[in-house]
Symmetry: C2
Subunit: 453 residues, 2 copies
Amino acid sequence: MTPDTPEISAQKEQLFDRLRGGGSELQPLLEGVHPADLAEWLLDITPDEGWELLQALEGAARAEVLALAEDAVRAPLLERMEPDQLTEVVRELPADDVVDLFALVDDEVTEAVLRSVDLDRAAGLRRLSSYDPESAGGVMNSELVTVSADLRIGDAIKLIKIEGEEAEETRGIFVVDEAGCPIGYLSDRQLITNSIHDEVQDVMSAPVTITSDADQEEAANLVLHYQLEELAVVDASGVLVGAIAADDAHTVWEEEASEDFHKLVGAPADQPTRQPLLRRVWTRLPLQGVTVLGGLLTAWILDRALGEHLDGDADLLRFIPIVIGLAGNVGIQSSTILVRAFATGEVERDRELSVLRAEVAVGLMIGLICGAATTLISTTVEADTMETTFAIAVGAAIAVAVTWAATLGCVVPLVCRRIGIDPAVVAGPFLITVSDISGTVLYLGVAHILLPT
Amino acid sequence: MTPDTPEISAQKEQLFDRLRGGGSELQPLLEGVHPADLAEWLLDITPDEGWELLQALEGAARAEVLALAEDAVRAPLLERMEPDQLTEVVRELPADDVVDLFALVDDEVTEAVLRSVDLDRAAGLRRLSSYDPESAGGVMNSELVTVSADLRIGDAIKLIKIEGEEAEETRGIFVVDEAGCPIGYLSDRQLITNSIHDEVQDVMSAPVTITSDADQEEAANLVLHYQLEELAVVDASGVLVGAIAADDAHTVWEEEASEDFHKLVGAPADQPTRQPLLRRVWTRLPLQGVTVLGGLLTAWILDRALGEHLDGDADLLRFIPIVIGLAGNVGIQSSTILVRAFATGEVERDRELSVLRAEVAVGLMIGLICGAATTLISTTVEADTMETTFAIAVGAAIAVAVTWAATLGCVVPLVCRRIGIDPAVVAGPFLITVSDISGTVLYLGVAHILLPT
């Protein structure tokens, strides 16, 4: 997240004003803004404005903004680029970032770009593109400085001075044997603190390795567990093909953790508070569909088991599992998304209201769809015993209860943050219970009002 | 997590055998084992065995194992140490790790140790101890190399060679003005690749700063957002007091993410699969208590609203919100704990069965307690209308449904991992629905069997 300081907010506001005013004279405003901030601000402007912004940046900064931006915003920008503009970007970036960009453009464009960079680099980029993006090979950096064990520290330092430009992402050097297998690692700090006359084998530490086809999460966990500066990535025969640095591991780790959070509640994996409304409804609907079907099955079982005891309004009780299930799901989706977004800084203070409105709208849509589905399915299945007015009342009451749960799931974490209580603690336990009770009461109340007595 | 390789598993097994056989001749087995692995293995042995292991390590390794171990296992080990043994450990570790250890021993011991290290360091450690452990100051490293802007790169490198020992945790140097405020940063790599005749101010980049009282999570997010090697920590007057390196930020971030996961479902925040059984029941019980009370309130409301329609077995329906609520909670607690533990590598294959057994036991205990509470409270509150046999049947049926949900919440992720499906996707959505339906049916079935017809 962009830090919430007055200076940075002022920079952002000024830049946005200028962009909306036609985008002239942007350069002076862009000086001193960090590419990571610009990359994030792209999320809040139109593709056309993003394009203006990109044009106003000089080469290295433009490349870096593209390397850091989310796929959803950089894809349309990359598509608008001429191959030679893209080639310029490619020249500025390390290989692993380039490969990520290639994944977003047409193969012909990639080919055109590869033909205009030098042969060695093109071969390296092709090799790197062939790894599964979720594997260790897919996140590694393949442009390394390697040395043999009997080299002196002073000569290793000279080698970095010469090759350093191509290996700008690394924080040390790997020592390899004749076959190219890693046998040691020296951090830059070790290079600095040891005598230039020492041989690297007297100073190096044992490298930790992983094969290129291993899962990226496993690689990230290794880096964290051993507190590595760089993890060696080797091919099937043990030859060094790349390295995963601590900050790459951190990025992987953050993605995987957020993904797990959102998957657990059946919400969009990536930046869920910034997705278009219908997309959010769509990704969250499968879970609700399963809940409705499961709830209807339960209602049917209850009818078989206890049907003769359930007359009049008491029949409403059969649908409580659907109400509680849906309200619980929607509420915990909203609150998990918010708690996670707070933690990663996705929801700044000025976005709170728009996030709330959007979540309530999503809840309403999900509620209407699920309520309608319940009405339709139950009148069809139990056509002979169920009255249409009753089924409609049940559906409408479900829609109200679900909307209420989404509102609650959003308001509670927001209020908690405002008054300084940890939203994560309140969001789960209390929210579910409060939403269970209030949802049930609301459902019965609404249905009761709608039903003719 | 310790990587799951045959060599490391063999090392671990051999070491454990030797420890259980009395702990003689440990040294040869400990060579080549990484302190991070030893720190983790401490979780699986008794404090006495841990003590033997620690005694067999040489000074630097012992200090590092203690720095990396969980508080729960290192606290009893630190308590057994004599002050001069602890002083040795303190000499080996960077200040931020020392302060974490001090938090676990008596104040008198800390004082004794501080008296035996040199004056400067003692003053630094006292200062560092005064920061809130959850703040940027609490996780920063205070032993830095700083230079003035007009120093030449060559001289900066000499300074690191001299002071490097005390600043072993840093990956670069901060440039400060006369007041001590940070005005620039140079990574070790920049020091290596630039000419030794350049002045640092020609090469340095702008530092990113945070105040020492800021939240550690905010600091970690800044490091991630700007992909920093080190974040400058300043006091209220802007003077540099420490730095947070990328790997420290990563550790903070991992802790906070896992905490959020577990808090969301009301489970223990830290290593939940390794806590003692009763402790787990205890930490997870508050959420269930709220659910039972909320469910009873709902049941009471339903009785007021629809009581006259509910005769015989149909009265069981009033308690479905409790069943679904409890089963859902317990199931999602179990599955979240497992999904998270898979991601961080806390549950290796050889621990699967013991984790399953423990989760089922926890589920059974929670089920029995909540079932009994439901029986007791509802017979008390509705003393005039509810028969005791009915209330007991409800309670027993709740216990069965909850145990079932815990089993399901554990078996499903384990099976998913075995057959190669992402447990996070299945654990949330499907599990809740399956547990809602099967829990309800099981509850009705069990209650029906127990009730006299």
